[in-house]
């Protein structure tokens, strides 16, 4: 599904990604871990197509297409979804309106019939149960005045409605209390399917107790320095990142 080869990227002239190689197959869940500043979020943003992040080298193939040539909206329409670490507030635009516009843009792109108001509302109500979201949040402006937990849940709701092929969760666990974490993880797990893949970007192992990854990669200084199965996450939790730093420096 996703193939990243030797990806280099700059932010503000500074190289952050220094040659990432990563393959994510359909149906897999990959966790990307690493200390602060290692480039985790940059990778997520580059995949989503944020223009402040300049790709200098390498390629990304998504379902046979050259992802880097696509506009951010086309990447989304191709099935890439980024759950933002800091979801932005958009006063005046209701959640419902955003979701309806988004789903129909994606359907249009994929030559599917647009949903009418009734069909959409039926779908939306179903998905809201997944993330245990209160109906009142729907008519409110996107993330406007939402608590940290509500914002993250809102991201997962959007993911549930848009049914992306590849979901990238960028530190979705940060700022969540244990209940919110459970709800968010639950939502993600219920959306898991053999034809969808997930990349979970996280700082802590905690989230991986709920969303169990098939593979764990450790990002350090713009490169993946270690890959393994879910046991690697536990090892990291126990030993800390310094353990890897030392290993790396010796290597």
């Amino acid at each position: 599904m996703l193939e990243i080869k030797n990806l280099h990227a700059n932010v503000g002239g500074k190289e952050i990604l220094k040659g990432i190689d990563l393959t994510v197959n359909t149906g897999e869940v990959h966790a990307i871990m690493g200390p602060n500043g290692s480039g985790k979020s940059t990778l997520a943003q580059v995949l989503a197509g944020r223009k402040e992040y300049e790709v200098t080298k390498g390629e990304v193939i998504f379902n046979g297409k050259n992802l880097l040539e696509l506009s951010p909206e086309d990447r989304a329409r191709e099935g890439i979804f980024l759950a933002f670490q800091y979801p932005v507030e958009i006063p005046g635009v209701s959640n419902v309106n955003l979701l309806k516009t988004a789903i129909n843009e994606i359907r249009k792109y994929n030559s599917e019939e647009e949903l009418d108001a009734m069909e959409f509302m039926t779908l939306l109500k179903k998905k809201m149960k997944l993330v245990e979201m209160d109906q009142s949040l729907l008519s409110r402006s996107v993330n406007d005045g939402f608590s940290g937990g509500e914002k993250k849940r809102n991201e997962i709701l959007q993911m549930a409605v848009l049914e992306p092929k590849l979901s990238i969760l960028d530190e979705t666990d940060s700022g969540l209390d244990i209940d919110a974490l459970r709800i968010v993880a639950n939502g993600v797990n219920k959306l898991k399917s053999p034809d969808r893949s997930t990349i979970v970007v996280t700082h802590y192992q905690r989230l991986l107790n709920y969303i169990v990854p098939d593979y764990v990669h450790v990002l350090y200084n713009g490169k993946i320095v270690k890959s393994g199965t879910k046991e690697l996450a536990l090892e990291l939790e126990a030993k800390g990142y310094d353990w890897l730093k030392e290993q790396k420096e010796f290597a």
Partner: protein, 481 residues
């Protein structure tokens, strides 16, 4: 817009070409303004003596005035002697098909969702009437006259209802009011007149769309709407289709009168030619609009969506004279490229327990300048007056300007005032967020802008609101990116 409406409109336009104008001599006055020109104008229009007197008084007063320069707009001086003050309504040049029309214009029409038939009308393509024109127009007029509602051109009103005109014309905007209003009073060509009798609720939105022989806006338009005791009327002015006009200066006057327990709702969508991308050409729209809540419990509500004109100078206002009367102003003003807008309202509280609401949403893009200028005045006798003002500015890009000039004058300690103001910018992070949800840049801006204008759009009649949304997106096209 539904085909039904477009057909009616088509008829209205057709009627205009062959209707009342036929008795007016097809001539154009030489350029220049003097008393002779005004006499000739009044004569051509076969006006009663009192009208001529009034025009002359206005003209003499105008001569004593200086063009105002306090507005936050800039333009080269206007030579008032270089304007012809009367020309018989011209027939639009006839085209054989839409292929001959300006392709840019057609593209805009398509984006606005204007039907093919309407496109033909706007561009002057000959249209075959789909059904009997006279019958629809007549049915509409009959329905109104059954209720005693008068809805006609100002010229007709002067001839057929001189008493009403004499009583109310200039009663809200006197000919001494301001430079442009004085000029308008002296030389106004035509406009709309509506009178809703006591206790009558006008069953349909009155619109220049429907009013036979009023499809074209004159350079100096004059509108007078009177709602008698307990009456209700909703009036729609303008049109979302871009209006081109060879006259650069437009100085209209609109007067609204609401007697006891009456309500007047006045909605405008203005989309006159704003000039090209470099600010060349474009219409100067210097309008005086004012409503008088004369009676107790009366209400006047202005809603405007302003996207056109090179320069807009416009302050729809309310004089709240009757006790418990209500004034409202809801505005969306969009400026793009080099457009300049100085617009707002005045709420003058004179009666007891009067209330006013101001919601102004300015949107600036390109290199434009958008100013809100509003006055709330509460006189000494106006006990328990209340005002709520909200003035928001939205900036798109970093070369435009937004300015707010609120004036408050409160002479009664029981007054309650609330004022909220915000300035926001469409952030790149907001756009990216929406992009990431599959929404294009243009659509993202539209979504944000429409959300921002929601409070005003909901005041518009349904159909108008839908058109206004599309209009906004067309107006802001290319402003981001």
């Amino acid at each position: 817009m539904s085909t039904e409406v477009s057909q009616i409109e088509e008829l209205a336009n057709k009627e205009y070409k062959y209707g009342f104008v036929s008795n007016v001599e097809a001539e154009t006055f030489p350029k220049g303004l003097n008393e002779d020109i005004i006499r000739r104008l009044s004569a051509v229009k076969e006006e009663p003596e009192f009208m001529l007197e009034w025009r002359l008084k206005a003209y003499r007063h105008w001569l004593t005035l200086k063009e105002p320069n306090w507005a936050n707009v800039h333009f080269d001086p206007i030579d008032y002697q270089d304007i012809s003050y009367y020309s018989a309504p011209k027939k639009k040049p006839k085209l054989n098909s839409l292929d001959e029309a300006d392709p840019e214009l057609i593209k805009t029409y398509q984006k606005l969702g204007i039907s093919l038939e309407e496109q033909k009308i706007f561009t002057g393509v000959a249209v075959d009437a789909v059904f009997d024109s006279v019958s629809v127009a007549t049915t509409f007029k009959e329905k109104l006259s059954e209720l005693g509602i008068i809805f006609c051109s100002m010229s007709e009103a002067i001839k057929n209802h001189p008493d009403l005109v004499k009583q109310y014309l200039g009663s809200v905007v006197p000919y001494t009011d301001n430079y442009y209003a004085s000029l308008n009073s002296a030389v106004f060509s035509d406009g709309s007149f509506a009178y809703i009798p006591k206790g009558v609720r006008c069953p349909m939105e009155l619109s220049t769309y429907f009013r036979i022989n009023a499809a074209n806006t004159g350079q100096f338009e004059r509108t007078l709407i009177i709602a008698d005791e307990g009456a209700y009327v909703s009036y729609l002015e303008g049109c979302t289709a871009p209006m081109r006009d060879e006259n650069q200066l437009h100085a209209a006057v609109v007067e609204l009168v609401a007697l006891d327990n009456a309500t007047v709702k006045y909605s405008t969508v203005q989309n006159w030619y704003p000039g090209d991308k470099n600010g060349k050409g474009g219409i100067y729209n210097f309008v005086t609009k004012r409503g008088m809540c004369k009676g107790v419990n009366s209400k006047i509500s202005w809603t405007q969506v302003e996207t056109g004109s090179a320069i807009t100078w416009k302050y729809p206002s309310c004089l709240l004279i009757g006790d418990n009367s209500i004034g409202e102003f809801y505005s969306v003003a969009v400026t793009n490229n080099y457009q300049q807008a100085d617009t707002g309202t005045k709420m003058i509280h004179m009666g007891k327990n009067t209330r006013s609401t101001i919601v102004s949403k300015g949107i600036s893009a390109g290199k434009s300048n958008n100013s809100y200028r509003g006055q709330v005045k509460i006189i000494r006798k106006a006990d328990n007056a209340r005002n709520f003002s909200q003035c928001d500015s939205l900036l798109i890009g970093d070369k435009c300007g937004a300015h707010t000039f609120p004036y408050l004058e409160i002479n009664n300690p029981t007054a309650q005032m609330e004022h909220e103001a915000t300035t926001s910018k469409i952030g790149d992070d907001q756009i990216f967020y929406l992009n990431q949800r599959g929404i294009s840049r243009e659509d993202a801006v539209n979504l944000i802008v429409n959300g921002y204008c929601k409070e005003v759009f909901k005041e518009l009649p349904m159909e108008f609101a839908v058109e206004a949304q599309k209009l906004l997106s067309v107006s802001l096209e290319g402003s981001v990116g």
